[in-house]
Protein backbone atom coordinates (compact mmCIF):
# COMPACT_ATOMS: atom_id res chain seq x y z
CA UNK A 1 0.00 0.00 0.00
CA UNK A 2 1.35 3.41 -0.91
CA UNK A 3 1.57 5.97 1.88
CA UNK A 4 -0.47 9.13 1.30
CA UNK A 5 1.29 12.42 1.95
CA UNK A 6 -1.70 13.81 3.79
CA UNK A 7 -5.03 13.05 5.31
CA UNK A 8 -7.91 15.43 4.75
CA UNK A 9 -10.88 15.17 7.05
CA UNK A 10 -13.49 17.32 8.78
CA UNK A 11 -13.25 18.18 12.45
CA UNK A 12 -15.05 20.54 14.82
CA UNK A 13 -13.28 23.25 16.82
CA UNK A 14 -14.51 25.85 19.24
CA UNK A 15 -13.71 29.36 18.00
CA UNK A 16 -14.13 32.74 19.62
CA UNK A 17 -16.87 34.75 17.96
CA UNK A 18 -16.60 38.51 17.80
CA UNK A 19 -20.10 39.92 17.39
CA UNK A 20 -19.86 43.43 15.98
CA UNK A 21 -22.63 45.95 16.61
CA UNK A 22 -20.78 49.02 15.32
CA UNK A 23 -18.89 49.95 12.17
CA UNK A 24 -16.54 52.19 14.16
CA UNK A 25 -13.42 50.03 14.00
CA UNK A 26 -11.41 52.28 16.29
CA UNK A 27 -14.05 52.01 19.02
CA UNK A 28 -14.12 48.24 18.52
CA UNK A 29 -10.32 48.16 18.81
CA UNK A 30 -10.18 50.07 22.10
CA UNK A 31 -13.04 48.09 23.69
CA UNK A 32 -11.58 44.80 22.56
CA UNK A 33 -8.13 45.88 23.72
CA UNK A 34 -9.46 46.45 27.22
CA UNK A 35 -11.10 43.01 27.30
CA UNK A 36 -7.92 41.33 26.13
CA UNK A 37 -5.80 43.22 28.68
CA UNK A 38 -7.71 41.39 31.44
CA UNK A 39 -6.60 37.94 30.24
CA UNK A 40 -3.73 38.61 27.85
CA UNK A 41 -2.36 35.11 27.24
CA UNK A 42 -5.86 33.66 26.97
CA UNK A 43 -6.35 35.46 23.68
CA UNK A 44 -2.79 35.24 22.43
CA UNK A 45 -3.03 34.35 18.73
CA UNK A 46 -6.56 33.10 19.29
CA UNK A 47 -8.56 32.44 16.11
CA UNK A 48 -11.60 34.72 15.84
CA UNK A 49 -14.74 34.57 13.72
CA UNK A 50 -16.50 37.88 13.08
CA UNK A 51 -20.27 37.67 13.48
CA UNK A 52 -22.10 40.20 11.29
CA UNK A 53 -25.63 39.41 12.40
CA UNK A 54 -26.21 42.95 13.71
CA UNK A 55 -24.64 44.63 10.69
CA UNK A 56 -26.69 43.13 7.88
CA UNK A 57 -26.59 45.24 4.72
CA UNK A 58 -23.65 47.37 5.93
CA UNK A 59 -20.36 47.72 4.10
CA UNK A 60 -17.68 46.32 6.34
CA UNK A 61 -14.08 47.61 5.98
CA UNK A 62 -12.65 44.09 6.17
CA UNK A 63 -9.03 45.06 5.48
CA UNK A 64 -9.05 47.57 8.32
CA UNK A 65 -10.80 45.09 10.61
CA UNK A 66 -8.21 42.43 9.82
CA UNK A 67 -5.33 44.76 10.58
CA UNK A 68 -6.94 45.87 13.83
CA UNK A 69 -7.39 42.28 14.99
CA UNK A 70 -3.84 41.50 13.88
CA UNK A 71 -2.52 44.39 15.99
CA UNK A 72 -4.39 42.96 18.99
CA UNK A 73 -2.62 39.62 18.36
CA UNK A 74 -5.83 37.92 17.21
CA UNK A 75 -6.11 35.82 14.06
CA UNK A 76 -9.19 36.63 12.01
CA UNK A 77 -10.19 33.39 10.30
CA UNK A 78 -13.60 34.11 8.89
CA UNK A 79 -17.02 35.71 9.05
CA UNK A 80 -20.44 34.33 9.90
CA UNK A 81 -24.03 35.59 9.43
CA UNK A 82 -22.83 37.65 6.47
CA UNK A 83 -25.16 38.75 3.70
CA UNK A 84 -24.42 38.20 0.02
CA UNK A 85 -22.31 41.34 -0.50
CA UNK A 86 -20.44 40.99 2.78
CA UNK A 87 -19.54 37.45 1.80
CA UNK A 88 -17.84 38.40 -1.42
CA UNK A 89 -16.08 41.33 0.29
CA UNK A 90 -14.88 39.00 3.06
CA UNK A 91 -13.57 36.53 0.51
CA UNK A 92 -11.66 39.34 -1.24
CA UNK A 93 -10.08 40.22 2.09
CA UNK A 94 -8.93 36.62 2.47
CA UNK A 95 -11.45 35.60 5.13
CA UNK A 96 -13.35 32.34 5.16
CA UNK A 97 -17.16 32.44 5.04
CA UNK A 98 -18.63 30.20 7.73
CA UNK A 99 -22.19 28.98 8.00
CA UNK A 100 -24.24 29.91 11.02
CA UNK A 101 -23.03 28.46 14.30
CA UNK A 102 -24.83 25.24 15.25
CA UNK A 103 -25.52 26.36 18.79
CA UNK A 104 -26.28 29.88 19.88
CA UNK A 105 -24.19 29.32 22.99
CA UNK A 106 -21.05 28.52 21.05
CA UNK A 107 -19.64 31.98 21.56
CA UNK A 108 -17.43 31.29 24.56
CA UNK A 109 -13.76 32.03 23.96
CA UNK A 110 -11.52 29.02 23.66
CA UNK A 111 -7.79 29.16 24.03
CA UNK A 112 -5.49 27.47 21.59
CA UNK A 113 -4.77 23.93 22.68
CA UNK A 114 -1.34 24.66 24.08
CA UNK A 115 -2.26 27.97 25.73
CA UNK A 116 -1.63 28.18 29.45
CA UNK A 117 -4.75 28.17 31.66
CA UNK A 118 -5.89 31.63 32.72
CA UNK A 119 -4.55 33.05 35.98
CA UNK A 120 -6.69 31.83 38.86
CA UNK A 121 -7.30 35.32 40.22
CA UNK A 122 -9.13 36.33 37.08
CA UNK A 123 -12.70 35.20 36.39
CA UNK A 124 -12.24 33.78 32.95
CA UNK A 125 -14.33 31.15 31.20
CA UNK A 126 -13.12 27.63 31.75
CA UNK A 127 -11.67 25.82 28.78
CA UNK A 128 -14.32 23.53 27.30
CA UNK A 129 -14.27 19.99 26.08
CA UNK A 130 -14.19 20.11 22.29
CA UNK A 131 -17.53 20.66 20.65
CA UNK A 132 -20.11 19.16 22.96
CA UNK A 133 -23.43 20.80 22.23
CA UNK A 134 -26.42 21.56 24.36
CA UNK A 135 -28.50 18.57 25.41
CA UNK A 136 -31.39 17.80 23.07
CA UNK A 137 -34.75 17.47 24.83
CA UNK A 138 -37.70 15.78 23.09
CA UNK A 139 -41.02 16.47 24.77
CA UNK A 140 -43.37 14.44 22.57
CA UNK A 141 -43.40 10.67 22.28
CA UNK A 142 -41.03 9.29 19.64
CA UNK A 143 -43.30 7.24 17.39
CA UNK A 144 -42.67 4.23 15.19
CA UNK A 145 -40.67 5.22 12.10
CA UNK A 146 -39.26 8.38 13.65
CA UNK A 147 -35.55 8.79 14.17
CA UNK A 148 -33.99 11.32 16.52
CA UNK A 149 -30.26 12.03 16.41
CA UNK A 150 -28.59 14.23 19.00
CA UNK A 151 -25.34 15.17 17.30
CA UNK A 152 -22.42 15.74 19.68
CA UNK A 153 -24.75 15.87 22.65
CA UNK A 154 -26.89 14.04 25.16
CA UNK A 155 -30.50 13.22 24.37
CA UNK A 156 -33.39 13.38 26.82
CA UNK A 157 -36.78 11.97 25.82
CA UNK A 158 -39.54 12.91 28.25
CA UNK A 159 -42.16 10.64 26.68
CA UNK A 160 -41.98 7.13 25.37
CA UNK A 161 -39.97 5.67 22.50
CA UNK A 162 -42.23 3.34 20.51
CA UNK A 163 -41.42 0.07 18.81
CA UNK A 164 -39.87 0.85 15.46
CA UNK A 165 -38.55 4.23 16.60
CA UNK A 166 -34.87 5.02 16.93
CA UNK A 167 -33.12 7.41 19.31
CA UNK A 168 -29.43 8.05 18.70
CA UNK A 169 -26.98 10.29 20.54
CA UNK A 170 -23.26 10.89 20.44
CA UNK A 171 -23.52 11.28 24.23
CA UNK A 172 -25.88 9.73 26.78
CA UNK A 173 -29.56 8.90 26.29
CA UNK A 174 -32.21 9.34 28.96
CA UNK A 175 -35.76 8.09 28.37
CA UNK A 176 -38.36 8.95 31.00
CA UNK A 177 -41.22 7.09 29.32
CA UNK A 178 -41.11 3.46 28.25
CA UNK A 179 -38.23 2.58 25.93
CA UNK A 180 -39.64 0.12 23.39
CA UNK A 181 -37.66 1.11 20.31
CA UNK A 182 -33.93 1.27 19.65
CA UNK A 183 -31.49 3.37 21.66
CA UNK A 184 -27.97 3.96 20.38
CA UNK A 185 -25.66 5.97 22.63
CA UNK A 186 -22.06 6.98 21.99
CA UNK A 187 -22.70 6.82 18.26
CA UNK A 188 -19.35 8.46 17.51
CA UNK A 189 -17.42 6.17 19.81
CA UNK A 190 -17.72 7.72 23.28
CA UNK A 191 -16.98 4.71 25.50
CA UNK A 192 -18.41 6.47 28.56
CA UNK A 193 -21.84 7.03 27.01
CA UNK A 194 -24.74 5.48 28.88
CA UNK A 195 -28.42 4.79 28.38
CA UNK A 196 -30.85 5.46 31.23
CA UNK A 197 -34.51 4.53 31.05
CA UNK A 198 -37.50 4.31 33.36
CA UNK A 199 -38.91 1.20 31.76
CA UNK A 200 -36.68 -1.04 29.66
CA UNK A 201 -38.52 -2.87 26.86
CA UNK A 202 -36.12 -1.96 24.07
CA UNK A 203 -35.81 -3.70 20.72
CA UNK A 204 -32.12 -2.91 20.81
CA UNK A 205 -29.67 -1.00 22.98
CA UNK A 206 -26.23 -0.10 21.73
CA UNK A 207 -23.23 1.79 23.06
CA UNK A 208 -20.27 2.38 20.75
CA UNK A 209 -21.38 -0.39 18.45
CA UNK A 210 -21.74 -2.99 21.22
CA UNK A 211 -25.39 -3.97 21.13
CA UNK A 212 -27.98 -6.21 22.72
CA UNK A 213 -31.28 -7.24 21.18
CA UNK A 214 -34.45 -7.52 23.20
CA UNK A 215 -33.99 -11.29 23.50
CA UNK A 216 -30.83 -10.75 25.52
CA UNK A 217 -32.46 -8.00 27.54
CA UNK A 218 -35.39 -10.11 28.70
CA UNK A 219 -33.34 -11.83 31.37
CA UNK A 220 -32.48 -8.81 33.49
CA UNK A 221 -34.32 -5.64 34.39
CA UNK A 222 -36.96 -6.09 31.67
CA UNK A 223 -39.77 -3.56 32.23
CA UNK A 224 -37.75 -1.94 34.99
CA UNK A 225 -35.72 1.23 35.39
CA UNK A 226 -32.20 0.54 34.22
CA UNK A 227 -28.87 2.10 33.31
CA UNK A 228 -26.82 0.56 30.53
CA UNK A 229 -23.11 1.21 30.25
CA UNK A 230 -19.98 -0.24 28.73
CA UNK A 231 -17.54 -1.92 31.13
CA UNK A 232 -14.41 -3.60 29.80
CA UNK A 233 -15.93 -3.59 26.31
CA UNK A 234 -19.03 -5.38 27.57
CA UNK A 235 -22.52 -3.98 27.93
CA UNK A 236 -23.68 -3.97 31.54
CA UNK A 237 -27.15 -3.31 32.91
CA UNK A 238 -27.72 -1.95 36.40
CA UNK A 239 -30.99 -1.36 38.19
CA UNK A 240 -31.80 2.30 38.66
CA UNK A 241 -33.53 2.13 42.02
Amino acid sequence: MSQSALELKGSAFTLSVLKLSSLDIDAVASELGQKIAQVPHFFDRAPVVVDLELLQGEQIPFEQLKETLESLRLVAVGVTNADEEQRSAAKLAGLAVLTKPVSSKASKPKPAAQAAPPATSQPAPMPQEPARQETMVIRQPVRSGQQIYAKDSDLIVLGQVSNGAEVIADGNIHVYGTLRGRAIAGAKGDLDARIFCQNLQAELVSICGHYWLSDALQETHWQQAAAISLRDEKLTIDALN
Binding site: Q140, P141, V142, R143, S144, G159, S162, N163, G164, T178
Partner: protein, 269 residues
Protein backbone atom coordinates in the same frame (compact mmCIF):
# COMPACT_ATOMS: atom_id res chain seq x y z
CA UNK B 1 -64.30 28.30 11.39
CA UNK B 2 -64.85 24.61 10.94
CA UNK B 3 -63.08 21.97 12.96
CA UNK B 4 -61.21 19.74 10.52
CA UNK B 5 -61.04 16.16 11.78
CA UNK B 6 -59.11 13.45 9.94
CA UNK B 7 -60.05 9.81 10.42
CA UNK B 8 -56.89 7.83 9.83
CA UNK B 9 -55.10 4.62 10.82
CA UNK B 10 -52.14 3.70 8.65
CA UNK B 11 -53.45 0.16 8.28
CA UNK B 12 -56.26 -0.70 5.89
CA UNK B 13 -59.52 -2.42 6.74
CA UNK B 14 -59.72 -1.30 10.35
CA UNK B 15 -62.87 0.79 9.91
CA UNK B 16 -61.83 4.27 8.81
CA UNK B 17 -64.68 4.76 6.34
CA UNK B 18 -67.26 3.19 8.68
CA UNK B 19 -66.02 5.54 11.41
CA UNK B 20 -66.00 8.61 9.14
CA UNK B 21 -69.57 7.92 8.07
CA UNK B 22 -70.74 7.25 11.63
CA UNK B 23 -69.05 10.26 13.21
CA UNK B 24 -70.13 12.66 10.47
CA UNK B 25 -73.72 11.41 10.75
CA UNK B 26 -73.60 11.64 14.54
CA UNK B 27 -72.30 15.21 14.49
CA UNK B 28 -75.00 16.22 11.98
CA UNK B 29 -77.75 14.62 14.10
CA UNK B 30 -76.51 16.78 16.97
CA UNK B 31 -77.24 19.84 14.83
CA UNK B 32 -73.77 20.57 13.46
CA UNK B 33 -73.43 21.33 9.78
CA UNK B 34 -71.05 18.60 8.71
CA UNK B 35 -69.35 17.51 5.51
CA UNK B 36 -67.48 14.23 5.10
CA UNK B 37 -64.83 14.07 2.38
CA UNK B 38 -63.53 10.88 0.79
CA UNK B 39 -59.77 11.24 0.30
CA UNK B 40 -59.41 7.71 -1.04
CA UNK B 41 -59.12 8.78 -4.68
CA UNK B 42 -59.29 5.76 -6.97
CA UNK B 43 -60.87 3.52 -4.32
CA UNK B 44 -64.10 5.37 -3.71
CA UNK B 45 -66.02 3.74 -0.85
CA UNK B 46 -67.55 6.40 1.34
CA UNK B 47 -70.47 6.99 -1.02
CA UNK B 48 -71.40 3.29 -0.72
CA UNK B 49 -71.31 3.35 3.07
CA UNK B 50 -73.36 6.55 3.05
CA UNK B 51 -75.77 5.09 0.50
CA UNK B 52 -75.44 7.89 -2.03
CA UNK B 53 -73.44 6.16 -4.77
CA UNK B 54 -76.12 6.69 -7.39
CA UNK B 55 -76.15 10.44 -6.84
CA UNK B 56 -72.47 11.13 -7.52
CA UNK B 57 -72.10 13.53 -10.45
CA UNK B 58 -68.99 15.58 -9.70
CA UNK B 59 -66.32 14.66 -7.19
CA UNK B 60 -63.52 16.05 -5.03
CA UNK B 61 -60.96 15.99 -7.86
CA UNK B 62 -63.36 17.90 -10.16
CA UNK B 63 -63.58 20.61 -7.51
CA UNK B 64 -59.80 20.73 -7.06
CA UNK B 65 -59.34 21.05 -10.82
CA UNK B 66 -62.09 23.68 -10.92
CA UNK B 67 -64.16 21.62 -13.33
CA UNK B 68 -67.10 21.93 -10.96
CA UNK B 69 -67.94 24.08 -7.96
CA UNK B 70 -68.64 22.85 -4.46
CA UNK B 71 -72.41 23.22 -4.71
CA UNK B 72 -72.46 20.93 -7.74
CA UNK B 73 -70.43 18.20 -6.11
CA UNK B 74 -71.65 18.19 -2.50
CA UNK B 75 -74.30 15.51 -2.01
CA UNK B 76 -76.92 16.25 0.62
CA UNK B 77 -77.78 13.28 2.80
CA UNK B 78 -81.42 12.21 2.54
CA UNK B 79 -81.79 10.92 6.09
CA UNK B 80 -80.03 13.56 8.16
CA UNK B 81 -80.24 17.33 7.84
CA UNK B 82 -76.98 19.28 7.91
CA UNK B 83 -75.02 16.36 6.45
CA UNK B 84 -73.15 16.51 3.14
CA UNK B 85 -70.83 14.12 1.34
CA UNK B 86 -67.98 15.06 -0.97
CA UNK B 87 -67.13 11.86 -2.85
CA UNK B 88 -63.73 10.82 -4.20
CA UNK B 89 -63.01 10.28 -7.84
CA UNK B 90 -62.94 6.63 -8.86
CA UNK B 91 -61.11 7.15 -12.16
CA UNK B 92 -58.12 9.13 -10.91
CA UNK B 93 -55.24 8.42 -8.56
CA UNK B 94 -53.85 10.09 -5.46
CA UNK B 95 -51.60 12.39 -7.50
CA UNK B 96 -54.71 14.38 -8.37
CA UNK B 97 -54.63 15.76 -4.81
CA UNK B 98 -52.39 18.80 -4.43
CA UNK B 99 -51.72 20.68 -1.22
CA UNK B 100 -52.88 23.97 -2.73
CA UNK B 101 -56.01 22.41 -4.24
CA UNK B 102 -57.05 20.58 -1.09
CA UNK B 103 -56.27 23.63 1.04
CA UNK B 104 -58.47 25.82 -1.12
CA UNK B 105 -61.43 23.42 -0.99
CA UNK B 106 -61.14 23.04 2.80
CA UNK B 107 -60.94 26.80 3.21
CA UNK B 108 -64.09 27.29 1.19
CA UNK B 109 -65.92 24.57 3.16
CA UNK B 110 -64.72 26.10 6.44
CA UNK B 111 -66.78 29.19 5.74
CA UNK B 112 -70.11 27.40 5.91
CA UNK B 113 -69.55 24.13 7.82
CA UNK B 114 -69.03 23.41 11.53
CA UNK B 115 -67.22 20.12 10.99
CA UNK B 116 -65.17 18.73 8.12
CA UNK B 117 -64.47 15.02 8.41
CA UNK B 118 -61.62 13.76 6.20
CA UNK B 119 -61.79 10.04 5.47
CA UNK B 120 -58.15 9.09 4.90
CA UNK B 121 -56.96 6.29 2.64
CA UNK B 122 -54.82 3.54 4.18
CA UNK B 123 -51.05 3.80 4.08
CA UNK B 124 -48.68 6.63 4.86
CA UNK B 125 -48.13 7.90 1.34
CA UNK B 126 -49.28 11.08 -0.37
CA UNK B 127 -53.02 10.38 -0.14
CA UNK B 128 -52.95 9.77 3.60
CA UNK B 129 -50.60 12.68 4.20
CA UNK B 130 -52.87 14.98 2.21
CA UNK B 131 -55.89 13.90 4.28
CA UNK B 132 -54.18 14.69 7.57
CA UNK B 133 -52.17 17.75 6.51
CA UNK B 134 -54.82 20.38 7.29
CA UNK B 135 -56.36 18.60 10.30
CA UNK B 136 -57.04 20.25 13.64
CA UNK B 137 -57.89 16.91 15.23
CA UNK B 138 -57.29 13.29 14.37
CA UNK B 139 -59.29 10.18 15.14
CA UNK B 140 -56.85 7.29 14.94
CA UNK B 141 -58.79 4.10 14.26
CA UNK B 142 -57.07 1.02 15.68
CA UNK B 143 -57.96 -2.65 15.94
CA UNK B 144 -56.84 -4.42 19.12
CA UNK B 145 -54.10 -6.25 17.30
CA UNK B 146 -50.33 -5.65 17.21
CA UNK B 147 -49.84 -4.70 13.56
CA UNK B 148 -52.70 -2.22 13.62
CA UNK B 149 -51.30 -0.67 16.82
CA UNK B 150 -47.84 -0.38 15.26
CA UNK B 151 -49.27 1.33 12.15
CA UNK B 152 -51.32 3.71 14.27
CA UNK B 153 -48.16 4.64 16.13
CA UNK B 154 -46.53 5.41 12.80
CA UNK B 155 -49.39 7.63 11.65
CA UNK B 156 -49.33 9.45 15.02
CA UNK B 157 -45.67 10.20 14.34
CA UNK B 158 -46.56 11.60 10.92
CA UNK B 159 -49.34 13.72 12.47
CA UNK B 160 -46.82 15.13 14.90
CA UNK B 161 -44.23 15.94 12.26
CA UNK B 162 -45.81 16.41 8.83
CA UNK B 163 -49.15 18.13 9.46
CA UNK B 164 -49.64 21.80 8.70
CA UNK B 165 -49.84 22.55 12.41
CA UNK B 166 -46.52 20.80 13.02
CA UNK B 167 -44.85 22.60 10.12
CA UNK B 168 -46.19 25.99 11.23
CA UNK B 169 -45.16 25.32 14.83
CA UNK B 170 -48.74 25.77 16.02
CA UNK B 171 -50.51 23.83 18.75
CA UNK B 172 -50.23 20.16 17.71
CA UNK B 173 -53.07 18.19 16.13
CA UNK B 174 -55.38 16.92 18.89
CA UNK B 175 -55.25 13.13 18.89
CA UNK B 176 -58.04 10.70 19.72
CA UNK B 177 -57.84 6.93 19.84
CA UNK B 178 -60.84 4.94 18.60
CA UNK B 179 -60.61 1.21 19.16
CA UNK B 180 -62.79 -0.75 16.76
CA UNK B 181 -63.77 -4.42 16.37
CA UNK B 182 -63.28 -4.93 20.10
CA UNK B 183 -64.36 -8.33 21.42
CA UNK B 184 -64.27 -8.43 25.24
CA UNK B 185 -64.66 -12.21 25.34
CA UNK B 186 -61.55 -12.67 23.20
CA UNK B 187 -59.68 -10.20 25.40
CA UNK B 188 -60.63 -12.31 28.42
CA UNK B 189 -59.26 -15.38 26.65
CA UNK B 190 -56.04 -13.51 25.96
CA UNK B 191 -56.44 -13.62 22.16
CA UNK B 192 -56.85 -9.89 21.80
CA UNK B 193 -55.09 -6.81 23.17
CA UNK B 194 -57.10 -5.06 25.86
CA UNK B 195 -58.06 -1.36 25.84
CA UNK B 196 -55.41 -0.80 28.53
CA UNK B 197 -52.71 -2.56 26.47
CA UNK B 198 -53.39 -0.42 23.41
CA UNK B 199 -53.58 2.78 25.42
CA UNK B 200 -50.33 2.02 27.15
CA UNK B 201 -48.54 1.52 23.85
CA UNK B 202 -50.03 4.52 22.03
CA UNK B 203 -50.44 6.95 24.94
CA UNK B 204 -53.33 8.80 23.28
CA UNK B 205 -56.66 9.77 24.97
CA UNK B 206 -59.44 7.27 24.26
CA UNK B 207 -62.39 8.55 22.22
CA UNK B 208 -64.31 5.32 22.17
CA UNK B 209 -64.38 1.57 21.93
CA UNK B 210 -66.59 0.07 19.22
CA UNK B 211 -67.45 -3.56 19.84
CA UNK B 212 -67.18 -6.13 17.07
CA UNK B 213 -70.68 -6.32 15.68
CA UNK B 214 -72.71 -7.94 12.93
CA UNK B 215 -74.49 -4.62 12.58
CA UNK B 216 -71.46 -2.98 10.97
CA UNK B 217 -71.41 -5.28 7.94
CA UNK B 218 -75.16 -5.04 7.62
CA UNK B 219 -75.00 -1.24 7.76
CA UNK B 220 -72.23 -1.07 5.16
CA UNK B 221 -74.08 -3.28 2.73
CA UNK B 222 -77.32 -1.38 3.14
CA UNK B 223 -75.66 2.01 2.81
CA UNK B 224 -76.82 3.39 6.16
CA UNK B 225 -74.16 4.52 8.65
CA UNK B 226 -74.15 2.15 11.63
CA UNK B 227 -74.73 5.01 14.07
CA UNK B 228 -78.32 5.16 12.79
CA UNK B 229 -78.87 1.59 14.03
CA UNK B 230 -79.91 2.28 17.59
CA UNK B 231 -80.53 -1.41 18.24
CA UNK B 232 -76.87 -2.27 17.84
CA UNK B 233 -74.14 -1.87 20.43
CA UNK B 234 -71.77 -0.60 17.69
CA UNK B 235 -74.23 2.17 16.83
CA UNK B 236 -74.59 3.15 20.49
CA UNK B 237 -70.81 3.07 20.99
CA UNK B 238 -70.39 5.46 18.04
CA UNK B 239 -73.02 7.76 19.58
CA UNK B 240 -70.95 7.81 22.79
CA UNK B 241 -67.80 8.59 20.78
CA UNK B 242 -69.53 11.55 19.09
CA UNK B 243 -70.62 12.86 22.51
CA UNK B 244 -67.00 12.70 23.70
CA UNK B 245 -65.83 14.44 20.54
CA UNK B 246 -68.24 17.24 21.41
CA UNK B 247 -66.63 17.49 24.83
CA UNK B 248 -69.21 15.61 26.91
CA UNK B 249 -68.23 12.94 29.42
CA UNK B 250 -69.84 9.58 28.80
CA UNK B 251 -69.15 6.29 30.57
CA UNK B 252 -67.58 3.54 28.50
CA UNK B 253 -69.87 0.69 27.55
CA UNK B 254 -69.39 -2.74 26.02
CA UNK B 255 -65.94 -3.23 27.57
CA UNK B 256 -66.79 -6.44 29.38
CA UNK B 257 -68.02 -9.72 27.99
CA UNK B 258 -71.71 -10.24 28.61
CA UNK B 259 -73.21 -13.58 29.39
CA UNK B 260 -75.98 -13.94 26.88
CA UNK B 261 -79.29 -14.53 28.58
CA UNK B 262 -82.17 -16.35 26.99
CA UNK B 263 -83.79 -13.12 25.74
CA UNK B 264 -80.50 -11.90 24.22
CA UNK B 265 -80.16 -15.22 22.45
CA UNK B 266 -83.59 -14.92 20.97
CA UNK B 267 -83.63 -11.24 20.10
CA UNK B 268 -79.93 -10.80 19.28
CA UNK B 269 -77.72 -7.99 20.43
Amino acid sequence: MARIIVVTSGKGGVGKTTTSAAIATGLAIKGNKTVVIDFDVGLRNLDLIMGCERRVVYDFVNVINQEANLNQSLIKDKRVDNLYILPASQTRDKDALTKEGVGKVLEELSETFDYIICDSPAGIEMGAQMALYFADEAVVVTNPEVSSVRDSDRILGILASKSRRAEAGEEPVKEHLLLTRYAPSRVDRGDMLSVEDVQEILAVPLLGVIPESQAVLKASNSGAPVILDEQSDAGLAYQDAVERLLGNEVDYRFLTAQKKGIFKRIFGG
